[in-house]
């Protein structure tokens, strides 16, 4: 099964970068500072998390600490999934 990181890298490469060569950045690279995403793409990432990973993202959770790198996104997604499972 694909890891969350792999799914995120693939999503960003295919749907945001339109790259045919995959995601060429380290997982901890800032998405915004490196121009990987622009301001509007954050909403696409929210939709991706909600639709593909079944996570409900609240407005107050859309902050750089959760969204500004593949690692941050994956950690955030895992934390949300574990809350969902335990509740």
């Amino acid at each position: 099964m694909q890891s969350i990181e792999e799914m995120l890298r693939q999503h960003v490469a295919e749907n945001i970068l339109f790259s045919s060569q995959g995601y060429a950045y380290p997982d901890d690279a800032s998405l915004l500072e490196n121009g990987i995403i622009d301001s509007m793409n954050v909403m696409e990432l929210v939709l991706f998390l909600e639709e593909k990973l079944g996570i409900k993202v609240e407005d107050f959770e859309i902050v750089p600490e959760n969204f500004d790198s593949v690692s941050n996104l994956a950690a955030f997604a895992r934390q949300k999934q574990s809350l969902f499972v335990s509740s």
Partner: protein, 507 residues
Amino acid sequence: MLVQEFLESSADRLPDKVALIGDGQRLTYAEVEAQANRLANAFLAQGLQRGDRVVLFLPNCLELAIAIFAVLKASGVFVPLNPSTKSDKCAYILNNCQARFLITSGRQADLAQQLTQQVSSLKTIILTSPPAETSTGNVLNYTAIQGDYKSHKPPKVNIDLDLACLIYTSGSTGDPKGVMSDHSNVVFAASSIIEYLGNVESDIIIGLLPLSFDYGLYQLLMVFKFGGTLVLEKGFTYPAAILKRMEQERVTGFPGVPTIYAMLLKMDLSTYDLSSLRYLTNTAAALPPSHILQIRAKFPWATLFSMYGLTETKRTLYLPPDQLDKSPDSVGIAIPGTEVWIEDKQGHRLGCSQVGELVVRGRHVMRGYWGNPEASAARFRPGLMPGERLCYTGDLFRMDEEGFMYFVSRQDDMIKSRGEKVAPKEVENALYGLPGVREAAVIGVADPVLGQVVKAFVVQEGDELTPADILRYCRAHLEDFMVPKLVELCVQLPKTSSGKIKKTDLK
């Protein structure tokens, strides 16, 4: 008065007051003044001559705000560039304005090196952060400059008829045009806007819009003029973080564009204490009347200003907030100290309810387009007094019986997405650069959040290109806001009898 005196007089009057907040720092007016003087002295030591152009290619950051004033102190002309501008367009603009200096971040060091090869006038690069690899050539470092140069104020050379800045704006031909503002234009426009917003020293403004965009830039200039505080942010990407910051800093002024308001209206704001907010402003594109109602319901304690303008006059119209209930879809009246009217194609002034082109008169009418007398002559035409310039906006308006103005449409096919102007021709020119593209046509399609989105229709030579290939190419060659959201591959495009692409048939 010169524009840098906004900073200098506030630094004299309020040296210990916090002027700029951003990047985890809080700088007082005295600190901003000292940093700007050091950078100005570095420019002069590097041979900056009066009127030399300095391109500032940076996202919103403290160094960018400081560099704007440093360039003016050294009697130069600053040219802010959108940080998502791609290399071809950077080279075009630097060559067009014959830039002598470039300030950018270490991340763009490779691009900066490449530009020194493509732009013969470019002599010095200043990096605001360390590059990944050591750079060659005349490359200075912002931090080192702050240690190496003195903080005395350079001698004042310019007068207010000298240029302060060039702001590049999309042209319908596809090539960007540099709008020339002299110091008197900027001082006048800033003063007029401060007057109707009623800004006072205790105002704390949040700067979300890029300083490369005149609406963003003037937030900085105005705040320094009235001695307030600017909270500088890199954008509205993370609305929750911005709202938190507004709460912490007790922000009083919120300048937004329709896309930002559309995002705000979708959020639950009840968890934030935004009671410090005194006013909100909107420009760049009109707010739908339903959004005006919702904004007022969310912020009943704050005043909303609907405004209209174009870079060529900075700001043109504003709706006095007490008129908002009566005329929610109007963008109001001429800003203080200026006048506007509506003309037909023959140059006759029109009365109420008649649709014609908006014409602007006042000291905010800028000096023309850099190195482009034809485009300047079309937009800036002789006025009522000898030597005077009027601005023909190219936008169609009508006026009601009380003199309030209503935007009707543009005369050209310019698209407004996220409040930014997108010239279809510029996107089409980029598309024609992609091998395999035979024909391309670009239009704007209505979108509830972005206002309009860019849609590209492409006819290809064979069948090798996919929409993803086209989007990837666009992302590499166009600024973010110009990249099409939608791409449709077509077998052919509708044509007029003379063989031109008939865009009115595209949807």
